[in-house]
């Protein structure tokens, strides 16, 4: 039995259906992420798990017990809020002790546990500080410590890294993974940042307009998205409209309007005549000087339109001779060479027959 079971929940606000018939399980010890653009319903689901909102239909179960009649203060579920919501009149220790005091723990236990989590989040020397004396990253750690100290069955995290700058955010991601592994508490994480979701999660539910579009492990979401939305939302991807000419278990032959005949990996439900989109990641495209291609199945020539130099890699926008614009990514591993192709250079773009994924809708 899963730790948290969400069964066909729907939540309406007036005419708007914020959450539409969502079902999912969160396993014990898991780092589960709800990922989606703002307004997709992910925060509404989080609030229903915490108990601040109730589904109009369907139900939530924790350890098999229905949560419907249990108020937020009696759910073994704690939340790390986006704004941290630290109590400004309490010290760091006072904030962390709060859930322990509410649970009626003994004075000795409170002192011991508070000290333990302070060490866990590397804030041993900040126990007597007030929240307004802390930096953003430190506040973040206090909020985490406060959420974890009473060992909840579930820790909900609502865009907890949203307010941090990029460098700190990256470091906190690392700390978050280590922390979750160390304490073994189940995390339900909500974010709109797809890279963060990929980096942190065991499994991700990608949400769009109140529905779960796809629920999978990060690699599967990235490599084999099941819909245009997921393909487009996670990472960058080239989308090429195409129609199936011929489908076999070895692969598809596609007629891409602008490219002519190309090949793609197999798709069970595709038959000749199926219309759809070939989605292919920039890093699966191989870019080389004109006529120096290595003879992969799909190869086309074009001109470099522009490029984005990112240090470790360069992303090229290549206008193929037949008009299609593709993004191709090349690593800058060559010693002393930062980039290889200039704007206006004639180049070849090619990809393997088993690269990309054909989406039939």
């Amino acid at each position: 039995m899963a730790l948290l079971e969400i069964r066909s929940i729907t939540r309406r606000f007036g005419k708007l259906e914020a959450v539409k018939n969502v079902s999912l399980d969160v396993e014990s010890g898991e780092f589960f992420t709800l990922l989606g653009p703002s307004g997709c319903g992910k925060t509404t689901i989080l609030r229903m798990i915490a108990g601040f909102d109730q589904p109009d239909e369907g139900g939530l179960y924790l350890d098999g017990q229905p949560l419907a009649d249990i108020p937020p203060e009696r759910r073994p579920v704690h939340t790390v809020f986006q704004s941290y919501a630290l109590f400004p009149h309490l010290t760091v220790s006072g904030n962390i002790a709060f859930p322990l005091e509410m649970a009626g723990r003994s004075r000795d236990e409170i002192r011991r546990r508070t000290g333990e989590v302070l060490a866990l989040v590397h804030l041993e020397d900040k126990g007597d500080a007030f929240p307004h004396e802390l930096s953003g990253g430190q506040k973040q750690r206090v909020a985490l410590a406060r959420g974890l100290v009473n060992k909840p069955r579930l820790l909900l995290l609502d865009e907890p890294l949203g307010a941090l700058d990029a460098k700190l955010r990256e470091r906190m991601q690392g700390e978050l993974i280590a922390l979750q592994r160390e304490v073994g508490v189940t995390f339900v994480f909500v974010t709109h940042a797809q890279q963060e979701a990929l980096a942190l999660s065991h499994r991700i539910g990608v949400m769009n307009e109140g529905r779960i579009e796809q629920l999978d492990v990060p690699e599967a979401l990235y490599c084999t998205p099941k819909s245009r939305f997921v393909a487009d939302f996670i990472g960058t991807i080239n989308l090429i409209s195409a129609e199936v000419l011929d489908a076999s278990r070895h692969g598809l032959r596609l007629d891409a309007a602008s490219l002519g005949e190309i090949t793609a990996p197999p798709l069970a439900q595709a038959v000749a005549g199926t219309r759809g989109t070939l989605a292919i990641r920039p890093e699966h495209l191989r870019i080389s000087a004109y006529a120096k291609h290595i003879g992969l199945k799909n190869h086309f020539s074009g001109t470099v339109g522009e490029y984005l130099y990112r240090g470790d890699v360069t992303v090229y926008r290549v206008r193929l001779d037949n008009g299609l614009l593709l993004e191709a990514l090349a690593t800058n591993a060559g010693p002393g060479r930062a980039r290889f192709h200039e704007i206006g250079d004639r180049v070849s773009v090619e990809w393997r027959h088993d690269a990309g994924v054909f989406l039939d809708h």
Binding site: A50, G51, F52, P71, P72, E73, R74, V77, H78, T79, F81, S83, A85, L86, F87, P88, H89, F98, P99, M102, A103, F130, H132, R146, G147, N150
Partner: protein, 277 residues
Amino acid sequence: MPVSSSTTDRSARLTRWLVTAPPAGFLVVFFLIPALIMAGASFREPGEFGGLAPLAESGTSLEAYRFILDDVIYAWILAKSFAVAGLTTVICLLLAYPLAILIVRSPKRQRDLFVLLVILPFASNFLIRIYAWMIILGPLDLLYSPVAVIVGMVYVHLPFMILPLYTNLEKHDPALLEAAQDLGAGRWARFWRVTWPLSLPGVLSGSALVFIPVLGMFAVPELLGGTGDLLMGNLIKEQFLDNRDWPLGAALSLVLTLAVLAVAGLSAVLTRNRGQT
């Protein structure tokens, strides 16, 4: 281009002077100097028909203070005034707190209306409102009693408690209450552990705004209270207008001022130790 810091410093200082000089001047002329005159008067002899005896003839004297210390009635009235002020403050707090919470939690448009209703009584004359209370309390057989004094005091000062509380509670981040609930706090724990401590600055300033004026208020006990309900305010007023003993009146008001300063100092210390909001 580097800006000459001495020039900006000088113009900033000038601006500061221009802005602070008028109110400071006003306070010196109309508050500080009269207060000093009052303090001086308390060490003089009363004139034969009111006012003060000429300094050249009678010199200074501690007679007024000796008088206050000799008769326990003055200490008693001071204590009673403090009790009335304290009771008024507590009742105002008990009435104002739930009301302020109610206003803060109502929708934005209603909120403005409620605040308007709180300050609306100020639109009509203070004395007329007290006379209105005489008409209300008379048939209830409460007029000219300590109860009537408290009712009047509470009525007059309630807005001064509601407004600072409202201003304070309005600033509270609702996420804090949600966080408290999420972390296991029930209704009462949320109030006593989060709302109340965060509202202490508002409670203290509201209490000061009620407590201090009540101590010196003489119109309410004069109009609504009985003969036995003499408070410091009345006592001071009587020395000047009825008994023509200015030094005694001045000494009594100095004693009251010092008592108020002590209370204000105490509340300042409490606020500093509490509120880092």
